[in-house]
Amino acid sequence: MSSLPVTRIDARLAKLRDEGRAALVTFVTAGDPDTETSLSILKALPGAGADIIEFGMPFSDPMAEGPPIQAADIRALAAGQTMVKTLEQVRAFRAGDNETPIVLMGYYNPIYIYGVERFVADAKAAGVDGLIVVDLPPEEDEELCLPAIRAGISFIRLATPTSDEKRLPVLLKNSSGFVYYVSVLGVTGVKSAAAGDVAAAVARIKAHTPLPVMVGFGVKTGEQAAAIAAHADGVVVGSALVNAVRDSLVDGKATAATVKAVADLVADLSAGVRRGRS
């Protein structure tokens, strides 16, 4: 539909397509390890090579996350992160960067409690481009997916190894922006998939949708990122980045090395993604 405005996600992905390279999608948890450092990390991501940012809304019970993101959520909540602060951080980021797409990722309950209509309005106003909500399958699209789309926010769906030919059309129906392919069965940050399996899965998904397919779960190094980038439109990295935050802390507090630790890893991943198709 040509009448729809081009979103930041669409614009960024079109640009990367022209450049002939895959996207690096980076996940960090909002408020980890504290509000101020988290904003500095957020601001440092594009310069280090992140093409799209997934900003995690921390939740007390992240049922699909492995130990690294569970720990990041606990750090953020212990430091007093709230939904209001997360949206404020997006707004502060947008003041200096109007191009890098931001996708909020998390679980439904904090959004439900904030209020769905208020949330989509405030998120849109803050400069959020997309949402990934792990515990909202298409069966519950009236909850948030459709209100988000009406507000002009993309609703990005997770496709998984269990998404068969029957299931793919159901989950792709109201999805937009891109598809996030969870390349292994399991929680975040534990196992990683073989490149060959990823190529087959991406092809299978692409037979059902024109949307770009980003691949994540278990990608930790530039080398792994390069291998995935050869077969997908983008690579998602999360647990490795929050582990970089964790490893930089002293007595649980941010240090001068924290932001740099994340940025250095992003730069390495970015180099990997860039050489993936060369």
Binding site: F59, S60, D61, P62, M63, A64, G66, Q70, L77, T82, M83, Y107, Y108, N109, P110, I111, Y112, I113, Y114, V134, D135, L136, P137, E139, E140, R157, L158, A159, T160, P161, T162, S163, D164, R167, L171, V182, L185, G186, V187, V190
Partner: protein, 407 residues
């Protein structure tokens, strides 16, 4: 609510997508959705299959020991000086609680679905023991997730599970209680979805679990109806059950929901008292609707939608949510939900033990506590049925510690 006055029946839910009013649903990660839909179909088919129901019934007769007796608690009734109190003796079931009713049903379903591995979460350990038991009986490997705090306070049950051949995983995330065990079980399920059947122990979680667990537990209420009719010639005036997730309660409540003369009361864990922030586990009396563990229901949570841990003396009630059908029954007004504190449960535990020679589980003692409050205010011709959902052997260490006795 106006809904209460227009409903012809309280027994028709959920709808085909698992909703009881606004509650219930299927809020799970996409990885699990194909399996959840398959489970829904498999259960619908099994439910209508006389061979499935026949096998379950036969196992209940000779393995569980059903029907469980309905016992007239003559001394307790006289002691309180009011209504006649009957106890539905679910604590006499094999494994010592109502949990076996559900586990036998689910293991038969897992076998029909061709699953090869069973996982379960447990709080007090009663569901873990029942799961380990049916896995031993049917030859399945069983892994049980249990909060590290609960492992500590329910040691006898941990050892029972291990004797039965199950592997118990202590969960250290969060406060190490039932909520955290359920998170970890769901993480296992996402990882091993192709081979694994998740045996949820309470009437909560994504559809079809709340309805399925209720159906398997409704044997309690169905038997109670027949038994009370046989001895008293009429239905009870009041039915009382303890509510954590709410499986024993929905099991005894459901067959009575459409009998307007039967008052129904669910008893939540009041912990240190409702005035203490995060000091109780009474989701309906102290929480608000939210989404967790696959369903929308009343939850203990803070203003930002983060889930609170809650507290109860009883590990089985120490859960920040409740089955979605209870949330609906509460909102429609059909069932009243009230809290009982740790102290009230502890007093009831001792009273029932001394007056009737029956040691109740601390969970069930919450229901007994409510009967102790209400019976004196009722007439001698009135009838209360209390669901005695489990026996208290597992709790003697906890109670001993509180009473200052070192075991």
């Amino acid at each position: 609510m106006s809904e209460a006055t227009t409903l012809n029946s309280y027994r028709t839910g959920p709808d085909e997508r698992g909703h009881f009013g606004i509650f219930g649903g299927r809020y799970v990660a996409e990885t699990l959705m194909p399996l959840i839909l398959e489970l829904d179909q498999a259960y619908e088919t099994a439910k209508a299959d006389p061979a499935f129901q026949g096998e379950l019934k036969a196992l209940h007769a000779t393995y569980t020991g059903r029907p469980s007796p309905l016992y007239f608690a003559e001394r307790l009734s006289a002691h309180l000086g009011g209504a006649k109190i009957y106890l539905k003796r679910e604590e006499l079931n094999h494994t010592g609680s109502h949990k076996i009713n559900n586990c036998l049903g689910q293991i038969l379903l897992a076998r029909r679905m061709g699953k090869t591995r069973i996982i379960a979460e447990t709080g007090a350990g009663q569901h873990g023991v029942a799961s380990a038991t049916v896995c031993a009986r049917f030859g399945y490997p069983c892994e049980v997730y249990m909060g590290a705090t609960d492992v500590e306070r329910q040691k006898p049950n941990v050892f029972r599970m291990e004797l039965l051949g199950a592997e118990v995983h202590p969960v250290t995330s969060g406060n190490g209680t039932l909520k955290d065990a359920m998170n970890e079980a769901m993480r296992d399920w996402v990882t091993n979805v192709e081979t694994t059947y998740y045996m949820i122990g309470t009437a909560a979680g994504p559809h079809p679990y709340p309805a399925m667990v209720r159906d398997f537990q409704s044997v309690i209420g169905n038997e109670t109806r027949e038994q009370i009719m046989a001895v008293e010639g009429r239905l009870p005036d009041l039915v009382i059950a303890a509510v954590g997730g709410g499986s024993n309660a929905i099991g005894i409540f459901h067959p009575f929901l459409d009998d307007p003369d039967v008052r129904i009361v669910g008893v939540e864990a009041g912990g240190h008292g409702m005035q203490v922030y995060n000091g109780h586990a009474a989701s309906l009396n102290g929480g608000k609707p939210g989404v967790l563990h696959g369903n929308r229901t009343y939850l203990l949570q803070d203003d930002d939608g983060q889930i609170l841990e809650g507290h109860s003396i009883s590990a089985g009630l120490d859960y920040p949510g409740i089955g979605p059908e209870h949330s609906w029954l509460s909102d429609t007004g059909r069932v009243s939900y009230v809290p009982a504190t740790d102290q009230e449960a502890l007093d009831a535990f001792q009273t029932l033990t001394k007056v009737e020679g029956i040691i109740p589980a601390l969970e069930s003692a919450h229901a007994v506590a409510e009967a102790i409050k209400r019976a004196p205010q009722m007439g001698k011709d009135e009838i209360i049925v209390v669901n005695l959902s489990g026996r208290g052997d597992k709790d003697v260490f906890t109670v001993g510690k509180i009473l200052g006795v070192d075991l």
